[in-house]
């Protein structure tokens, strides 16, 4: 099996694995951030350029470094390849530039946006971006499109990652979702109104790294950090029924898929679970969802199981 060294960590991976997936096998700090790549979606990746890494040694056969930074999500590894991610200043500088470009047309409406607190772009710019902006021109605007009662589309917030397009292509049976126009003017559209009829169309909300596609049934209801995410399941004839319910007291405010450490859902859930099952009696609560300590959602969120008190008193046993 080919060997690859990422930030000084050597790992053996299968032939044809991308640098991104090799890094994810190691895990931790060396994993490049990704805005468009989604391991559950075929052909995703290569759009956002946030996962750029420097290949300092091409392979054992040809040890020359690659002339430019490469997108780690779509570059397969070679035997003996050496990659620097966090250790390369070039990569960090490039990423700073990429974040600036992503934010050029992204509105500064985090206080209004429902995605705030669990937004990949927020995390990315917090970690890799700059504090100020140099962009003085007008940001792009779009006509508002109403795409049905469940999903809210904010085209201004879109970063063109194509994740929702691939979701609609691959999870649903027919092609109902796509990108119109090009460059600055490109927008998610076409038959998006028709995608709503599909049972799994709600997953475009979970795959969206920003707040371009959000849950209309949760719109402006609360902020994610005031809610308690709980693992829950129910018997569903369409999907696995495994989801996260976001609770405020005894009330379910919204339902999402279970996201892993790379903010990718483990299993796609159906629209019935997501939008129409907000009655606590219909769910079996498994326990609190694990939330990273760095996340704002972890404030006021307790994951400790109730303590079991052992009774050593023989008389009351």
């Amino acid at each position: 099996m080919p060997k690859v060294t990422i930030d000084g960590v050597t790992i053996e991976v299968d032939e044809g694995t991308t640098i991104m997936n090799a890094a994810r096998k190691v895990g931790g700090e060396i994993v490049p951030p990704a805005m468009c790549y989604y391991s559950k979606l075929d052909k995703s990746g290569g759009k956002c350029r946030t996962c750029l890494v420097e290949v300092t040694k091409g392979s054992d056969k040809d040890p020359r470094p690659m002339p430019k930074l490469v997108a780690s999500c779509s570059t397969p590894i070679m035997d003996g390849m050496e990659v620097s991610n966090k250790t390369s200043q070039k990569v960090l500088d490039a990423r700073k530039g990429v974040v600036e470009f992503l934010l050029i047309n992204h509105p500064l409406d985090c206080p209004v946006c429902d995605q705030a607190g669990e937004c990949d772009l927020q995390n990315l710019s917090y970690e890799h971006g700059t504090e100020g902006t140099r962009f003085e021109e007008k940001k792009r605007v779009f006509d508002k499109i109403d795409i049905g009662p469940f999903i809210q589309l904010h085209m201004t917030r879109c970063i063109m990652c194509y994740r929702c397009v691939y979701t609609a292509d691959q999870i649903t049976n027919e092609r109902v979702h796509g990108v119109l126009k090009r460059g600055d003017a490109s927008e998610i559209g076409t038959y998006i109104e028709k995608a709503i009829d599909n049972d799994f169309s709600g997953n475009v909300i979970d795959v969206c790294p920003v707040g371009a596609l959000t849950d209309k049934t949760f719109r402006f209801k609360s902020r994610v950090w005031f809610l308690n995410p709980m693992d829950a399941h129910r018997n569903c004839d369409k999907c696995s029924g495994k989801a996260v319910v976001w609770m405020f007291g005894e009330e379910i405010y919204r339902v999402t898929g279970r996201k892993d450490q790379y903010a990718e859902v483990e299993e796609f859930i159906c629209n019935t679970c997501r939008f129409e099952t907000k009655d606590l009696a219909k769910w079996t609560i498994e326990g609190p969802r694990h939330i990273s300590r760095e996340s704002v959602i972890s404030q006021g969120h307790y994951e400790m199981q109730p303590l079991k008190i052992e009774n050593n008193n023989e008389e009351t046993k």
Partner: protein, 175 residues
Amino acid sequence: MLSNRSIKVSNKKMTFWERIYLPAIIGGMFVTFKHIFKKKATIKYPEQKRPVSDVYRGKHILKRDENGAERCTACGLCAVACPAEAISMIASERKMGEENLYREEKYASVYEINMLRCIFCGLCEEACPKEAIFLTTELVPPFLERQDFIYGKDRLVEQVDKRVDVSKRKLKHTV
């Protein structure tokens, strides 16, 4: 006795002048009389008030913008920054025709500060991304009922005809 630090009480017998107490009383009266001519340390509070700092942290205010629209967009950052968990809010979506009332498409339909919980630390005004909440030099008055200390939007939002100047408390580094 163990610590060797105890002091023995002296039960010295008082002299005649000490026993009639008069010299001591007159001495005390003289000190009191002297203070009549000195500058008073106190003020008559409700009528007179001491000057407070420009950035005194008193009762909160929810600012309006230059057009009179409420600046608060119910983002919840003040509530999450609040160490005393005194702030709570419910957001609503702005409807057509309310653009002159609310600045953003989302606004706080309910915004409550529990003044009994509040410790007036000013973290809410520091957290606010919209320059909506500020603390003022005004004090929160006492009430007889606990319920009265929960300030809703009726008492927090700035009145259109009675603007409060907060220019001195704005952070210098904000853009």
